[in-house]
């Protein structure tokens, strides 16, 4: 399973990469992007089977990215999990309505991420 991690924080990308490597999933390549614009460019170059994305990012935020992913025939079936500080019901609902398969609030534990991945895979 190839994964794209999208977050403007390099620290969060490192943590999520480590969690993915420690999780009991068939992990392939892990790609990283610092915002939604970089994420779209990455998706044009390589296929992934999972996207983990923050919401609040410069240039193109996670909900805009989610909308574009779900609106593209090539990417619409890739599961997207939002990992974000945004905790309002409105934001969660918006993400689900746009097609996110999961929502994890920051701060998170490695176990919470692994549990979410297990439910998806």
């Amino acid at each position: 399973m190839d994964v794209l991690i999208v977050d403007d924080s390099a620290a969060i990308r490192k943590i999520l990469r480590r969690v993915l490597q420690q999780a009991e999933i068939p992990l392939g390549q892990v790609y990283e992007a610092g915002d939604g614009v970089e994420a779209i460019e990455s998706l044009k170059k390589q296929k992934v089977q999972l996207i983990l994305s923050d919401i609040n990012m410069p240039n193109k935020d996670g909900l805009q990215l989610l909308g574009e992913v779900k609106g593209n025939p090539e990417w619409k079936d890739v599961p997207v999990v939002m990992i974000t500080t945004e905790g309002s019901q409105a934001k969660v609902l918006e993400a689900i309505q746009l097609g996110a398969v999961g929502y994890v609030r920051k701060p998170f534990t490695a176990e919470q991420i692994k549990e979410k991945l297990t439910g998806i895979i």
Binding site: A11, I12, N56, M57, E86, G87, S88, K106, P107
Partner: protein, 175 residues
């Protein structure tokens, strides 16, 4: 109006939650206070996150360079002794999580707010200033002989506006 104690409680719970969950660090909360001035740091790291909506303001976390390095090492498993890009990024993300969680709690009282991306400042002998006359709620924490300060400032916007169509909240707050 928001009860001042609510600001303290939400800042405290957000900070202790972030530090215990993602850094494995226990913080000892100290007595809070009101400060009319923006923090002046002589040597250290400061991360600021803006808040905007029907209420506007900001959240700041401040600490020494040494504590910032320790925070980074706990956060992402590094072994840095001097402030570098990893440290600045780690402090920025910790501020993002603390103020982001504070925002989620305070939204129950003031409605939806937008959150800016963090701005992190590191240096020596610098001063800073925020324009406005609102006081900062200051919540200090002790951890291993070091002090982390969390400051929040929030007041009704003079001209509350909704985000313009086509723009997300984050694009309308501090760049």
């Amino acid at each position: 109006m928001i009860e001042p104690q609510k600001l303290v409680d939400y800042a405290t719970s957000a900070t202790t939650d972030v530090f215990s969950t993602m850094l494995g660090m226990e913080l000892e909360v100290q007595a809070s206070s009101l400060d009319p001035d923006f923090p002046t740091i002589n040597d250290g790291v400061m991360a600021l996150v803006g808040l905007a909506g029907s209420w506007t303001g900001a959240g700041v976390i401040c600490c020494t360079a040494a504590f910032a390095c320790k925070l980074c090492n706990q956060f992402i498993g590094t072994a840095v002794e001097n402030v570098d890009e990893d440290v600045l990024d780690a402090v920025g993300e910790v501020a993002n999580m603390i103020i982001g969680n504070f925002k989620t709690s305070i939204e129950e009282h003031v409605g939806a707010l937008g959150l800016s991306v963090p701005t992190v400042i590191y240096g020596r002998n610098f001063t800073s200033r925020s324009i406005g006359q609102n006081s900062w709620t200051v919540v200090p924490f002790h951890c291993g002989g070091e002090v982390l300060e969390v400051r929040v400032c929030l007041a009704p916007a003079k001209e509350p506006t909704a985000p313009r169509a086509g723009y997300s909240h984050t694009s309308t707050v501090l760049a």
